[in-house]
Symmetry: C2
Subunit: 778 residues, 2 copies
């Protein structure tokens, strides 16, 4: 590979200025002329039959322009998750926008209003009279699976929405071969991604059923497909406008909810655009990381070699399966099954309906729940058997050159787990620090580690999941280029990194390629969602291909101008030159000007025609599926301090080593890692959505009720190490980063807490109360 000029530089984010000066680019700031404001009435019951709805008083309230009842909503059932086809056979198709008969969780929408102000709409909700007949509700998934429990959906006996399993070998044999067998039950809680920009949309639906929507979404084309289906329209009737960026997503804006179709139908009724913005409480009850309970049993030899692994996972999907159809699969595969080698393995999963709110996608997508179990139990094994936790993991880990664990068509061409462990350990001074004194009064220090050994760079090879990307690159006459991509920047930074990839390929300087801020699902090529750690690798490959197509045209024009063969050219730093002769060069701006000049130019010597072949905007387009799905991997080390008086846990130092193939923008990559740690640490120590156990009502309303780590709680010291293994199928060697970093903090912190105080916690979050209880002080 040639020397890289732009890739590998910590180029400044072009969106920084707008973001710190108010953020014109966020959908929450969209205002359309004549726009109305919508609000949804939600069920106060966890399970009830709707007897009647009377909205006549609401309709008479001055300022109310439309009232929407369930009978106004097309009654179709589908999977609202963006990354799969709307009726994907692999998913559970149980979602509806507004059910006219049954409510299944507290907060299910039952009616909606559009009015000239949000206040009037809110007031109108109080004037809608709904008569319910309450039904028995169930909130615990294991109770829900028992015979005799209330049944939530007709096609799901015992409330089991989905029950996948993976297995190979002979489990009994494997446990018989073991010197030791370890068993544990690990439980994780319901948390929210806590994106800063609430879910919001502004929708205009005209009488010809043309729908235009501005919306916080991680996937233009997902919103298009699912919203069209919910409204009973052909896809192309829905135009989803690409916002320059949205205020966070993290998997939390990866499915259609009632909001979008309700706003559309209100708009059509009212004949005006309708804006619908969730309150923070509405966001909390709309999308959360599914709680999973994992029963984990592992057989090991004395030396730490696995002989058998068995796990059973019970996922609480709430009232509808939605993401729970797929989270259970990813959880089983990448949280439990594929992580390590073992001669005999089995996993079974249960996605179970309850009258809790619907779950959702959240960075890591089931893996954090699994990793917490696996990496905690490995720590128990190492402690018990006196094994080195680094060597124990490497002994069972996969190796470079092996077939890809979930798809033998792919190979682990790059796999830097050992480097991650060794370099991470060195950075935190693993051997020395652990033997130093670690107690100061009531404060005990401890060290912990966890790895995430197998992950994805997208969904290539997964059944039913979209995985292709497109890009268009156009050169401007001032030597800049515009990149058009449907890939949504949810804070993940592709505005910066995809432009760097394009600049590197074209030979433009950093900053000369911009992400076009104008586009929609009509005029942009399809891109799969911003999810599954896929953007740098998958969208990056499409961007590189589009840039290569534009470069071909660039070189053709340059070759005519320089009277050489295009094959003899190369480009760098804004200029095209004859290979090996940097002095024989011409600027890219000049070439673009020639390509877009008049056919006949007036010169001092009179009119001078150029050739027709030189004419035409230099533009390249690509749309493709990636050729592989390389796995990144990561090792996480933390040092914690546990206050045995207060139960408070402080993370003093966090070291994260990632094999990401290539860091396109090291600063941006560091930002991803630190953000991931913040979410992982919140999961480990403090975050939890609270419910009333009697009614199932969500008690968490806003960020006063929901504690997540702020700068105050973050470690004073954080180190990110990037192992650059140069993935051959990746753009300039890159694979993915987005999610590994959110998976390991919980087990690493739990392991460090055990190291500090000798108490093992198997239920998240590990709050001060739990610490004190564990220490026998409560």
């Amino acid at each position: 590979m040639n020397k890289l000029n732009v890739v590998g530089q910590s180029v400044e984010r072009p969106d920084a200025y707008d973001k710190v000066t108010g953020g014109k680019g966020y959908p929450v700031n969209v205002r359309l002329p004549g726009m109305l404001h919508g609000k949804m009435l939600r069920s106060p019951y966890a399970h009830a039959r709707i007897i009647s709805i009377d909205a006549s008083r609401a309709e008479r309230l001055p300022g109310v322009k439309a009232v929407l009842l369930p009978r106004d909503v097309p009654q179709v059932k589908f999977c609202p998750v963006y990354f799969v086809p709307v009726q994907a056979p692999s998913m559970v198709l149980d979602f509806d926008v507004m059910n006219p008969e049954i409510v299944r969780y507290v907060g299910q929408p039952v009616a909606a209003v559009a009015a000239t102000s949000a206040e009037i709409a809110e007031a109108a909700l109080d004037l809608i009279d709904v008569e319910y007949e309450e039904l028995p509700a169930i909130f615990d998934p294991e109770e829900a699976m028992k015979d005799g429990a209330p049944q939530l959906h007709p096609d799901a006996p015992n409330n089991i929405a989905k029950n996948p399993s993976f297995a190979y070998g002979d489990l009994d044999q494997g446990f018989a071969d073991a010197d030791y067998v370890f068993e544990g039950v690990y439980e994780t809680q319901r948390v929210h991604t806590c994106y800063m920009e609430p879910r919001v949309c502004v929708v205009d639906m005209d009488r010809q059923n043309n729908v235009t929507i501005h919306v916080t979404t991680q996937h233009l084309f997902g919103t298009r497909e699912k919203l069209a289906f919910a409204l009973g329209l052909p896809e192309s009737k829905v135009k989803v406008v690409k916002s320059p960026y949205i205020g966070g997503g993290f998997g939390g804006k990866l499915e259609l909810t009632a909001m979008e179709p309700v706003a559309a139908l209100l708009s059509k009724k009212a004949g005006k655009p309708v804006r619908l913005e969730h309150t923070r409480h509405e966001d909390f009850i709309t999308t959360t990381r599914n709680p999973i309970k994992v029963y984990l049993k592992t057989g090991v030899k004395k030396d730490g070699t696995f002989t058998a692994r068995y796990a059973k996972s019970i996922l609480d999907c709430g009232a509808h399966a939605t993401h729970g159809s797929e989270v259970i699969m990813v959880h089983g595969a990448f949280g439990l099954f594929f992580n390590y080698h073992a001669p005999h393995q089995k996993w079974e999963g249960y996605t179970v309906y309850t009258n809790n709110m619907i779950g959702g996608g959240y960075r890591g997508y089931g893996a954090p729940q699994g990793s917490f179990a696996v990496e905690s139990q490995i720590d128990e094994i190492c402690t018990k058997l006196g094994l080195d936790p680094i060597e124990m993991r490497l002994k069972n880990a996969r190796k470079q050159g092996e077939p890809h664990p979930f798809n033998p068509a792919f190979t682990l061409a790059t796999y830097g787990l050992e480097d991650c462990l060794r370099q991470g350990a060195e950075k935190i001074n693993w051997s020395k620090a652990r033997s130093a004194p670690r107690s100061e009064g009531s404060k005990k220090r401890g060290f912990g580690l966890a790895v995430h050994p197998v992950w994805v760079s997208g969904c290539m090879g997964f059944p039913d999941i979209y995985e292709h990307s497109g890009a268009i690159i156009k050169l401007n006459r001032d030597g800049t280029a515009d990149l058009s991509s449907a890939s949504m920047d949810i804070g993940s930074g592709q505005i910066t990194t995809l432009c760097q990839i394009a600049a590197e390929e074209l030979g433009l300087p950093a900053g000369a390629v911009r992400m076009s801020s104008c586009g929609d699902s009509d005029n942009l090529p399809f891109d799969a969602p911003t999810h599954a750690s896929r953007v740098t690798y998958s969208s990056g490959n499409a961007v590189k291909a589009a840039a290569a197509a534009a470069k071909k045209r660039l070189f053709d024009v340059a070759a005519t101008m320089m009277e050489v063969s295009p094959d003899d050219l190369e480009s760098c730093n804004g200029r095209v030159n004859v290979k090996g002769s940097p002095d024989k060069s011409i600027s890219i701006a000049e070439i673009a000007q020639r390509a877009e000049s008049p056919f006949v130019q007036m010169t001092a010597e009179g009119p001078k025609p150029t050739t027709i072949e030189e004419k035409g905007t230099i533009i390249g387009v690509a749309s493709l599926a990636p050729k592989s799905n390389p796995t990144p991997c990561a090792a996480q080390f933390v040092e914690v301090e546990v206050d045995t008086e207060t139960g408070e846990v402080k993370v003093l130092h966090a070291v994260y080593a990632h094999d990401i193939g290539r860091a396109i923008n090291p600063k941006a990559a560091e930002g991803q890692v630190e953000g991931g740690f913040q979410q992982g640490m919140g999961y480990a120590l403090m975050e939890q959505i609270q419910f009333d156990p009697e009614t199932g009502a969500c008690l968490t309303s806003d960020f006063l009720d929901y504690k997540m780590p702020t700068a105050m709680e973050m470690p004073r010291k954080m180190d990110s190490i990037f192992i650059e293994t140069d993935e051959p199928t990746g753009p300039f060697g890159a694979k993915s980063l987005g999610e590994c970093c959110v998976i390991t903090p919980a087990p690493a912190i739990a392991n460090a807490i055990y190291d500090a105080i000798g108490v093992r916690f198997t239920q998240l979050p590990i709050t001060p109360e739990k610490i004190l209880a564990g220490l026998g002080k409560l």
Copy 2:
């Protein structure tokens, strides 16, 4: 050529619904959050020196957010015309946005204000104190050319901005060879295009000099280039948002005016978007068809054969040359010089500065002024020599297969003038009707004809004029396609016709291709302006090429699905089938679905992978210059009734026969012709901007002061005949239509008036006053 399925159908306009229900798509309806309103202060003097400007009182007015003075405006001179480079050597570079020293016409902007309402901005203008020193002004171009006249620009002695000429042969010899020599002076007036949507822009310019503009423009990229230059920025800092359409243009929105840069600079000063909308009076003084006085001398043989033609044209360009640099060229070439064969010819043109307002582009672009002279004089010759006006024209006309008159690299591959004349004559019953009684009391009927023999399908081959087009076509999974093009629909109908061309090429049914309404100068490929009758031919060829590129990909995917070679496929009516086997077919929707499906699909038999090669949005892109510049041609016949008591002229019947190669959408083509006739008839009979001869002030303020034909005045009977000559270089045989139809009405009507009452009028408009005066009744 295969049978055409979509081309040739009068497909309904997809923009009709929005246009008749309020027109969300017009820039005049754009509102941005926080938007301010701008107003410009304009000079009351035709020629003066600015001594001082004091805006302090205006700045203190509550609600005023920014005041802009000439010193705040970058002082650069350039050509604001969109279709040429901003400093094109062939153009006069004399335009500036706000001159700090000199005003040269009544209405020149001298300051501007942005305020929270248009009313406050207007009130603030009254608080700006400008001290002027008046200078002598000149309003008549022939006076302006005389020695001793006030000099307007330093580089233009005798106020001559430009003085082109064409000649061949020996003029003296030619006149010596003539049996008769005819001389005449023909004068045309200043008129406005009368687009319905006023010039308006909403501009946001941030502190990093990123400019986003929504604007009534005929050319996204022209606005981008000229506005960037006026602001001293690289081109790519300016993003021009494409409106779905604008409310008319007709050449009147084909250059930058002060409005756009002033709004941008106000926006930057105020830190908010600024909207600036012209009043109708401001529009009248901003862009008009240049008045031209033509001295025409023609030598003929007895049989009507031309022996020599000489013309001199004096164009009043007002205070700045702008379009006057090019209108004079087109006028000379296509209004006078190229129309007919003659062994000896000479033309000289003068673009002359006066203290009148600036001229501009207007459909026909100089040709109507020339055609009025030429076609009137031919009528005089025929009358005098007793020649048949059809045969006389055909005798001197060009013929199919000849070299193209202005560029011998091209050939007149198609040329249907004789058919136009014969079929038009038959339609109006030329021979019989003229011999019938034509008088009824005071009302006299008359018949007239005029042709426009040589025109363009764009600017291919013209010096310094942009002429290439681009398009992107993307297929949707529901069997529709989206076309992205920077070609602005100014009412000309390309939303319909370009989509028909794409549908025909792809094999989709009519209506299945939509023009994408989202795009801007960042993400769209360059397209030359909507002008010069170029869109159907030039943009149409690019659209056809983009569709062909998409079709190639479509056939590749279909071939894999059908297990045949792509070469064996054809498409029609939404399906791809094996050539000659319509039963072996597959729908385009299905193919697009396959291309955008997940790589592995779950089926009843388990997961089923497709090939990577099948994956990826079906998308095609093209950007190219056309290969020729074919000439359309037209013959116009009218029957008029002149009321000799009132002087009123009524056009009873208009017949227009056009060789346009192919009518892509016959109804839309008829619309073009009828709209062109409306403008041509207004030019002939009633339209004229009025000036105070003392001060040079424009007295025309609105449509109460400016009479143009409405449905009341239009002929009760109009017939459009399209001669389809199947141009080999055109998309499905098409060449152009947009302008021929506006050129001939004035001479045809003047000739018919002569036929009716025997009086020849050589000054437009032929008002009732002039008729009565010509009849000796005034």
